[in-house]
């Protein structure tokens, strides 16, 4: 299956600080998706990126797909306690089955 690596594995930030998580693949991706999983919850779809160099924003969240379509990032500006959770990237294999990254667990300290 598709292998995507995420860094960092854990991130603790003070409320109001920014946060970034990175997703890297050794192969070119057709697209990449991002999900958020709250503690005790299930993954919830955030966004899908398809085009090389694509940048999409959702309020304080900015998603980017690399020019070579091998990496992606999620940046959160001015974190809030509601941002707590684990953020996963997910990439499809040739059969369009999605494989998830290792995730970045975000803790926001009030």
């Amino acid at each position: 299956g598709q292998q995507v690596m995420q860094i960092p594995q854990y991130q603790h930030v003070q409320e109001g600080e920014d946060f970034t998580t990175y997703c890297n693949s050794s192969t070119t991706l057709s697209n990449i998706q991002w999900y958020k999983q709250r503690p005790g919850g299930h993954p919830v779809f955030l966004i899908q990126l398809v085009k090389s160099g694509e940048v999409k924003k959702q309020k304080r969240l900015t998603f980017q797909f690399g020019e070579a379509k091998k990496n992606s990032s999620l940046h959160i500006t001015a974190t809030q306690t509601t941002d707590v959770g684990t953020y996963f990237c997910a990439a499809p294999n040739t059969g369009n089955q999605f494989y998830f990254g290792t995730g970045t667990s975000l803790t926001v300290i009030p």
Binding site: G41, H42, V44, N93, G95, N96, Q97, F98, F100, T102
Partner: protein, 113 residues
Amino acid sequence: DAGVTQSPTHLIKTRGQQVTLRCSPKSGHDTVSWYQQALGQGPQFIFQYYEEEERQRGNFPDRFSGHQFPNYSSELNVNALLLGDSALYLCASSYRDSGEKLFFGSGTQLSVL
């Protein structure tokens, strides 16, 4: 509009037993994918069902099997349970195998003692 529903929510089994988990996809969805999520890990792809057939399988042994019914609901069966099978089992539905976003159920927490 019902989302993805899974049952049961929690299950406790002993080594060697067999378990069946159930999933009803979101209304309008015809594809069901199963994932295993161990504590602190990302979801691991088990297999996907579309048109009542297994489309692709992740790196899981034959002890893991599944089925999809004509109404698109699905079952995941695990035989000869091992301690390492303890995990959250997530069902995700989507429309066809076209790379559309996945809608996840709340999962079944399986504990093997």
